[in-house]
């Protein structure tokens, strides 16, 4: 239970930004295509439904965060379930995180190899990103938050720039008819979105660092709104420009969107800039995931410092990322078919389970002296 304590504190706004980075960088690359495949022109409705379905998770995270202030999920799971069971749950959560981060590393590298540098070995991207992430994660939550704060405006600016520059190519007709095949496809699409939005559950891993602890309510609200807004924009952008059939056919929709930009034969070929910003975004996500996994392991093992864990965990993630999938079709199949269910299990299931038990057992909120 003692575990390590990170010395840092972050503002609720920073937590919200980290939440945003947990979902957006990977979701914007793969999600529009999946959604167009299942929900066709109603892809954006699937995002709306999924956001509504993510709300309960947001409530649970808020409740847990305020019920156990200054504690992370790895700590309060032991308060709620007792030492052994709590450690088991924390371990499972860390394992899920490791798997998730391996997946993100692979998505990142696959995209770079497919779209930009086909001759470079995949491992080059995976290893370099992981190495930088280790460096960042060792610096602690405050550094991670600040770098996220720095990258976010750039990413927002870029997504909005791309979307506004392709407006000449957009056609509202592509959105109709609404609900052509009823709500079924929309719900099916929403489940895929949950696989991505469920990752906001990682907020529980840093909830103890938010100061004041009540700020988590604001983090969840703003973070979820931000995720919702940008996912809808990106999905709409893809369908409006390409139409649902073509969006479903494209592997990397937003990248193709960036390639569409052509203003007066002058402002064009800006996709490389987009790449740069997007790489920075994935970097934040990988670094953050690695950090949470490290403090998770440190807490479970009751170590005094999480820093020595970063590098080995990252190495493990890199190895896993290479071993998990044979090719990009495996990866896409996993993202589309397996990840939603798996995310429901761990990202939604665990916090909700903890909250239910906490509400029933009413454990004494042990106040840990943070300083």
């Amino acid at each position: 239970m003692r575990g390590i304590r990170e010395e840092g504190f972050i503002h609720a706004r920073q937590a919200a930004i980290l939440m945003w980075f947990n979902v957006l960088p990977t979701a914007i690359i793969f999600l529009p295509s999946f959604l167009a495949k299942t929900a066709q022109q109603d892809a954006w409705l699937a995002v709306v439904v999924a956001t509504v379905l993510t709300l309960p998770l947001g409530f649970v995270l808020t409740w847990l965060g305020t019920r156990f202030p200054h504690l992370t999920l790895f700590q309060y799971s032991e308060i709620i379930l007792g030492r052994i069971l709590g450690k088991i749950i924390s371990t499972l959560y860390v394992l899920a995180l490791i798997l998730l981060n391996a997946l993100v590393l692979r998505e990142f590298s696959e995209f770079l190899v497919s779209a930009v540098m086909p001759e470079t070995p995949l491992l080059v991207f995976t290893v370099t990103l992981a190495a930088v992430a280790v460096y960042g994660a060792r610096n602690g939550i405050e550094v991670i938050s600040r770098s996220a704060e720095f990258v976010m405006p750039l990413m927002v600016l870029f997504i909005l720039t791309i979307l506004s520059l392709v407006t000449p190519e957009m056609s509202w007709r592509n959105l109709f008819p609404v609900l052509e095949r009823g709500v079924g496809p929309v719900l099916a699409g929403a489940i895929i979105v949950l696989g991505f939005t469920g990752e906001i559950s990682l907020l529980a891993g840093i909830s103890g660092f938010i100061n004041p602890p009540q700020g988590i309510r604001m983090s969840v609200t703003i973070g979820l709104l931000g995720v919702f807004f940008f996912l809808v924009m990106v999905v709409l952008g893809g369908v409006l420009v390409f139409g649902s059939a073509e969006t479903a056919r494209l592997t990397f929709v937003v990248f193709s969107l960036a390639r569409m930009v052509s203003i007066a034969n002058f402002l064009e070929r800006i996709e490389v800039l987009f790449m740069a910003i997007w790489v920075a975004g994935v970097f934040i996500k990988v670094m953050f995931n690695l950090y949470i996994a490290s403090i998770g392991v440190a807490t479970v093992m009751e170590l005094t410092d999480f820093r020595p864990l970063c590098a080995p965990l990252a190495a493990f993630m890199v190895a896993l990322s290479v071993l998990l999938f044979k090719n990009i079709s495996h990866l896409l199949f996993y993202l589309e078919e397996i990840m939603p269910v798996w995310t429901l299990l761990w990202a939604f299931g665990m916090p909700i389970f903890l909250a239910v038990v906490a509400a029933l057992r009413k454990p004494k909120g042990e106040r840990v002296n943070v300083r």
């Binding site: 007709r173 390409f242 073509e246 056919r249 193709s256």
Partner: protein, 433 residues
């Protein structure tokens, strides 16, 4: 973390610089063969022929064409045409690299030209052009009536490379412009069929002007002759190209061509008209002409369903300026303008009806995307008709409601040389000031 071993880190950083001399897989621009136009043809029964126009940067980059010696120098060309065959396009593209000293680079490709025979075989060639990572979905696609590679033989004019010539003409809005991405979605939609503009080769006599000695004719109709082996017979190549008509695809295969008038009508019905000119007879002097140039056009199609009968109501709104009149009466009065607008409507109707007749009677193919309109407006009915939409489309009724308004009359009230009027202009001075 740097504190203790600062020296070690510094040495590491310096050593690291040795590795940072650049990307190992970089390609400098002089190692690339920039493809500026690609022509896809069918070859034999199953093979394909890929021809590319590779730009010669030495000739293009100087700012002016160095072939100033009257076009005689055969080595002073803005680029090179390379053509190979293969069982598919990836193979053909690889074989091109067997013939040229540089790697092909496709991102700057300006146009994809498809030969008639390949188009009749089907649209499956699109896959390579949309899957390769260097391709851009904004590349326009055009049809060539014979072999597409003949088009690449265009001599340099204002623009030096055929890709620039073709994309430049397309940007004049004189014909349909179909980009790869639009073509793909037209093909995939059940209620729409692709229409691609067609290039016609113009011979030297016809294309009178600066390049060659021409007869100075107007050149209304031309059917090109098969040019033969493109690369060897450069002299016999076309002098210019013109866009005329468009090819119609049904179930992914080219089935026929529209003529010029039908293509214009199709553009109106598809809502693709951005600007253009309508020329018609003077209301009171049928032998004289009036031209109106319009810059704004809007097409709205609404399906109306009564029982089994599907009617499409096409509303066209457009605004234009009076550009030219040869009849000697002032047309700038409100009443005359109204008459002109009626005549405009008839002219527009003629184009639209020509396109409709061709699509419904002859080709029995929905090239206007009316099916998709029905799909959007009435998904339930669409579900019943989508599988044999083209037949149902052929029997559908189309009503046209066009409103073409003349807003402005240009820089003069009255026709040039209006008789009997007091002319107060300066006398023309005999020369100089």
């Amino acid at each position: 973390m740097f504190g203790k071993h600062i020296r070690l880190y510094l040495i590491g950083a310096v050593l690291g610089m040795l590795l940072l001399t650049g990307c190992w897989s970089r390609r400098e621009i002089e190692e690339l063969a920039l493809v500026m136009a690609a022509a896809a043809d069918a070859e034999g029964d199953n093979n394909v022929r890929l021809s590319v126009f590779i730009v010669n940067p030495r000739e293009i980059g100087g700012g002016q064409p160095s072939g100033s010696g009257g076009g005689g120098g055969t080595n002073k060309v803005p680029g090179e045409i390379v053509s190979t065959t293969g069982s598919d396009f990836t193979e053909a593209a690889r074989r091109i690299e067997e013939q040229i000293p540089r790697r092909l680079f496709w991102s700057h490709n300006r146009v994809i030209i498809v030969g008639d025979k390949l188009a009749r075989r089907g649209l499956s060639w699109l896959d390579w052009f949309s899957r390769d990572r260097q391709m851009r979905l904004t590349t326009p696609v055009v049809l060539a009536p014979g072999e597409a590679r003949e088009v690449l033989d265009l001599p340099p004019g204002v623009e030096l490379v055929p890709g620039e010539i073709i994309s430049g003409i397309l940007n004049n809005h004189v014909t349909l412009k179909v980009e790869l991405k639009e073509l793909l979605s037209m093909w995939q939609a059940k209620g729409d069929n692709p229409v691609i503009p067609r290039i016609t080769l113009v011979s030297a006599q016809e294309h009178s002007g600066s390049k060659t000695q021409g007869a100075g004719g107007t050149g209304q109709q031309s059917q090109e002759q098969g040019g033969g082996e493109g690369r060897t017979q450069r002299k016999a190549g076309p002098a210019a190209i013109r866009f005329e008509g468009a090819g119609v695809f049904k179930e992914g295969k080219l089935i026929g061509y529209l003529d010029h008038l039908e293509t214009l009508g199709t553009m109106w019905l598809r809502g693709e008209v951005k600007e253009g000119v309508l020329t018609f007879n003077c209301p009171e002097h049928p032998s004289e002409r009036v031209s109106v140039r319009f810059h704004r056009a809007q097409t709205q199609v609404t399906p109306q369903v009564e029982g089994d009968k599907i009617t499409f109501l096409v509303k066209i709104n457009s605004e234009g300026d009076l550009m030219e009149q040869t009849c000697q009466e002032s047309l700038a009065t409100p009443e005359k303008i109204e008459e002109l607008e009626k005549a405009l409507y008839h002219e527009l109707n003629k184009r639209v009806q020509a396109a409709l007749d061709k699509a419904q009677r002859e080709l029995k193919t929905d090239i206007f995307g009316f099916g998709e309109v029905l799909h959007r407006e009435n998904p339930k009915l669409w579900r019943q008709v989508e599988d044999n939409w083209n037949e149902i489309f052929a029997g559908a009724e189309v009503k046209l409601e066009a409103q073409v308004s003349i807003r402005r009359i240009g820089m003069s009230y009255n026709p040039a040389g209006g008789q009997g009027r007091n002319t107060g202009g300066k006398r023309v001075s005999p020369g100089g000031r």
